[in-house]
Symmetry: C2
Subunit: 313 residues, 2 copies
Amino acid sequence: MRENDLIAWFAANARRYSHVPVGIGDDMAGVVLPGTVDQSGAALALLKIDQALDQVHFDLREHTPRQAGVKAVNRCLSDCAAMACRPQALLIAVALPQAASTEMVQELFRGCESAAAAFDCPIVGGDTAVWDQRLAITVAAMGDSRTAPVRRSGAVAGDAIVVTGRVGGSILGRHLTFTPRIAEAQAIHQVADIHAMMDLSDGLAQDLPRLLAASGVGAVVDAARIPIHPDAHTLARTDGRSALAHALTDGEDYELLLTLAPADVPRIQALGLAVELTVIGTITAQQQLVLRDDHGTTQPWPRGGWEYESAKP
Amino acid sequence: MRENDLIAWFAANARRYSHVPVGIGDDMAGVVLPGTVDQSGAALALLKIDQALDQVHFDLREHTPRQAGVKAVNRCLSDCAAMACRPQALLIAVALPQAASTEMVQELFRGCESAAAAFDCPIVGGDTAVWDQRLAITVAAMGDSRTAPVRRSGAVAGDAIVVTGRVGGSILGRHLTFTPRIAEAQAIHQVADIHAMMDLSDGLAQDLPRLLAASGVGAVVDAARIPIHPDAHTLARTDGRSALAHALTDGEDYELLLTLAPADVPRIQALGLAVELTVIGTITAQQQLVLRDDHGTTQPWPRGGWEYESAKP
């Protein structure tokens, strides 16, 4: 069973509760703390949990414990960015290999702490355990948002589809060094009505269909407008796959994918963010995903993107 | 480095933030969501993360995935009970072994879901990943409390020390089948001013000193009053260690340890809870921990209790 199917199964089999307006299936969940009201009437606590596993998301044979800690926290914070959420607190659980030294655990913590501090977000609690397996780091985040959180499900026909930064080839190093787009999400959210947003963790090829499915819409994407990272070109020169294929399917970009009214595009461009904002296509009412090349002819949407095929039937 | 020392190091090295009145070191952290006020002026979101690892906290060679899911959730809910917290939402991350079947993942989820539903608590999100290592389940909880959360640090000289239920020998099965004392904590909190509370996860021998250290107090405990579980007696018959030693050091009791004014003891006894409430001793101003036997002579406090010795220096 693939991850999408598992998540759909979880969502279908989880009970519904009235204090959970945003449940399983978005980048974060939204929960109302009972007896709590905010200035506008309903304070949502946004919640997320995310794992970083040794030799899956990082590799301690090549990377330092500090790098692992930074990545574990930033992966979770990238999901906060995806909801235009302001992270307020992190919890961190580590399953430590028996051989872990005190120094290693402290370096891991320093990595977590530095990534969290970059967004003024405290680490408020944690759990440590030791086992004879490899390092697993799990990070949970709680945050809030200035207004209703931006979900995946709000894209409407006619929306411009925007990507921050450049995508593809993150395996060359950016998967460890990326900056979660929290500041960018806040800045954009401040000046424009973001209809739908998510972060690109599994690659545009896989993530865009998720946003479209959540919104019940389709899209036309112009291949030539996809902001391909130089790292994708570097990989393409060695492995014979196209730079575009890398850009679409490599994953771990941790950039934002968002949709908004075309009239809002100049407004967000005018922000002068350090990161590029690129319109890659348009949302359509017809629930189809079309990749258009330079000549206007359509190509098949690549099936890939990073997704584990777990769980045999 | 032992777990206590690691936690102390984390707490000392984590930045302080004004919106986190309860940080690292208690059963849950307490965080104020900015812009949020509750009816009494300050709404605290209580947060906790906890892991359950295959062949550490459960063993898939003997236990079902459903049992593992139940235990993982109940361990976290037991920490909620320890703060007199009402759990409002859970997040669950699973690192799945490659051989995991869909059926196995679904059973695991059903276990989590049934344990959560027993306390009307939704599972609002999660994360799944696959690796070539054993199953790791991480559960994060958010909740609130009716009043200020009950911490470990409020014990004062003269307090009665109370334990719920009976302790020791949980390895015979109760470590999988226990019920988190959420209802009991709520009921007690409703009629009495609980000064300090925690759950017994590592054993009275190790957990009581933590509560005393957090409160800056000592205690006299009467060995004969410790509510020894029949399972501890069963173990004692086979391994030659005393039932009392099992009761003090086995751990995984998931009972509550609390202190309150002696005048409140009759009040909580009058609740008629299904679980026993036993006064095992008294808090003292002198920061010493004394175990008194039947004849009034003092015994050394056992050093044990379940604690990993991870992290070599």
